[in-house]
Symmetry: C2
Subunit: 441 residues, 2 copies
């Protein structure tokens, strides 16, 4: 069993960074994007909290109210487990405080009563990325970085842009020239990040951003940044707090780059070691079938690290070579976890059900509920299990797909507008049909 002393430094120690591959340690304020010795992924190790589990829980509860003069953050409430030395450098929107929902209509779809939905789309920029970015940009402030940068065109760049703007640090987004649909960057441009369209391919882009980090004091907030992992841990910590620290049996999440799979494992490992929870939930990572190298590896006990040409409608998890692979393997192993893949049809069916429950989500988010449904059908999840499914993005993150689904010709479940005469009997017929289709569900 993992104990607190394996995971934390002695109480009162400053946090440091450690290479997960070779064990080399770096100071907390070193800006290296990876281990300078071996190139491995860095992780953060904190000093053990000086409070016992009960006192820690109480301190989290105390920070949990909407305080006068501004709501508390759902990330920084857990500062002692995320970045104990952050103090006055904190750049917070605030973020987190996302709801834990239940909806009868989603239960019916998944085939499980009381399925809890942790909706990370209710973060300021509309996705869970804010939880990592508040910590990553705070680290940039502590480092005195000249700018922050990433190479994403999606939710990551929007979150980076928002927090960089708040910190008053330039935000830079590196993309290969001519290969990106600029509409995807609209939110990022609005928040004022500079988009650098690099003449070259994606590899040139990555090389350039790393050179720039080394030579120009730009702090890299790419997906393997260990401080972003620390922020994303709070999805689990906040969920556990909302469950009054009664750990669920399963935590199910969409899986692309595997950053959340990594972060969730670290959060659970630490929470268990600190006595915040008594048992370990099983992590279930759900990939899209067209982007499922991790699911394939899982079936072979992670003997091989695969990469694929990714192809799925769920753009936020359309990733063929996940960056946080090793960390994620550890998460699955240590939690007796499961990795599976769902088809785009299964993911869309789940999205339509989540939307029509009045909740709504980005397409990739729905992979978690699609995964729950599958595991219920397979008998792995039963009615006695307590299950949390995580939605990672807001329905407004991809409104285009709504138009395609509901106003196009292809989709059988389309909610099409109904043309009627200005006659109350016509309305009556629509109501009768609605009651019928509701009953048929």
């Amino acid at each position: 069993m993992t104990t607190s002393s394996d995971l934390f430094l002695t109480p009162g120690s400053r946090s440091h960074q450690r290479c997960a591959s070779c064990g080399a340690t770096l100071p907390e304020l070193d800006a290296s994007p990876a281990c300078p010795t071996c190139g491995g992924l860095l992780e953060i190790v904190h000093g053990a909290p000086t409070l016992d589990a009960a006192s820690l829980r109480a301190s989290f509860a105390q920070n949990c109210c909407a305080r006068p003069l501004g709501s508390a953050s759902g990330v920084w409430r857990f500062e002692s487990l995320v970045m104990p030395g952050a103090g006055s450098s904190i750049v917070s929107h605030p973020e987190g405080n996302t709801p834990l929902l239940t909806r009868a209509a989603i239960d019916r779809f998944a085939g499980l009563d009381g399925l809890r939905i942790k909706h990370e789309g209710h973060n300021p920029t509309g996705s869970f990325k804010d939880r990592g970015m508040t910590v990553g940009v705070t680290q940039a402030v502590r480092l005195g970085a000249s700018a922050v940068a990433c190479a994403s065109t999606g939710n990551t760049s929007a979150a980076l842009a928002s927090y960089a703007a708040q910190a008053g640090i330039p935000g830079l987004v590196f993309v290969p020239a001519g290969k990106i649909a600029m509409g995807k960057l609209a939110q990022t441009l609005g928040y004022g990040a500079r988009t650098l369209m690099v003449r070259g391919d994606f590899d040139d882009c990555l090389r350039l951003v790393q050179d720039a980090a080394r030579e120009l004091g730009i702090y890299l907030l790419n997906s393997i940044n260990p401080w972003r992992v620390e922020g994303q841990k709070t999805i689990v910590l906040e969920m556990l707090q909302q469950l009054d620290w009664q750990a669920p049996d399963f935590i199910v999440l969409p899986a692309g780059n595997l950053g959340n799979t990594a972060a969730f494992g670290k959060a659970l490992r630490e929470a268990k070691a600190l006595g915040l929870i008594d048992k370990m939930p099983r992590i279930v990572s759900v990939q899209a079938a067209g982007a499922a190298p991790f699911a394939r590896a899982f079936r072979e006990n992670f003997a091989t690290r695969y990469s694929v040409q990714a192809d799925t409608i769920a753009t936020a998890i359309r990733i063929g070579d996940p960056a946080s692979w090793d960390r994620a393997v550890r998460s699955i192993r240590e939690t007796d976890g499961i990795v599976l893949s769902c088809s785009d049809d299964e993911i869309i069916a789940a999205k339509v059900a989540i939307d029509a429950a009045g909740v709504g989500c980005e397409p990739a988010s729905a992979a978690s509920v699609a995964g729950v449904r599958r595991l219920v059908q397979d008998g792995v999840i039963t009615s006695s299990h307590r299950v949390v499914a995580v939605l990672t993005g807001h329905i407004l993150k991809d409104p285009g797909i709504l138009v395609d689904l509901h106003q196009g010709e292809q989709f059988a479940g389309a909610n099409k507008p109904i043309e009627i005469d200005a006659d109350v009997r016509a309305v009556e017929r629509v109501l009768a049909e609605s009651a019928h289709s509701e009953g048929a569900r």
Copy 2:
């Protein structure tokens, strides 16, 4: 001075509805969309709370924490002032709990230090409409309504659809056939509301929805529904709570249909009468210049009720004949309020500044900050004043305008992508220019 006894029924009384024009009263559970006697606007009158101001404040604070098993609502925390008998009928996402922000970059734009931003875009469906709809749909449940309906294509219909879905009641949206860009309804369709495209014009549509309400037990949740007003009051109540009940000098908001101007006045009137606040803030309603009948009437002391052909880029306040006119006049009069109009250019400049601060908002929302800037320039608001500006919708509510602004040719302040060679010196130049333009602001 208005006292508690003018505004509230005797303690313990059931709430009822009262016509603001003729004074007729209706039972709480009457579903009439307007006064059956004279057609006037209905308003809700509650029994006076049995708690004194200090105890009321304490009860709000107690309900304010994120509780185990789900966050508390920022509307239903104030249940005693919103719908005291709601009890188990409540349909809550939950909503509210929106942040009260300050941002140095917005202060610089507005010319006022410490401007507070109440961001209602951080409601579940992305706009303040959720606060009214949680109450309106709860009322529909109490009434046993067969369906809920409205005739909006924007934020109202999205909120209606979301809450109707959660309640398991059909949501109906009435629009004139062939006159609506269906993309505007994407979010509404996703949440499962039935869109009825009525063969006829907008007047046929309104007549039909009213006939349907009378004959089919459909509950109308149009903009004059008095329960929606009760829900929207909580924008002010929550803001006052976040300010520790120290009322600001000005509350500035975008004004189209005038529902919020009406609701804010009622909230302040009641809060003052109950002793929750000591002084009355001045309400500042900001219209778009192309849709400013209320601003024109204000300059003439409301002698005339105007209507205009509305034309503005701020679609959420593009309304020529505001429905909540009379209620809003009362709000402005009773709070020594101000009504002004800002040009589309002023509104866009404010939106760009709010976006680039990393906060972001729907275009119409920015009218409030544009209004603050104007009143600072005019010397009405000075550095000694405490001011709250309300943003009503999320930046993701209108991503199209971001593409137009930042990737088109017209807009001088566009944040255009920069094409560079894969060379670290090129990055250095961009950083130098960013530092320069930041300094120049």
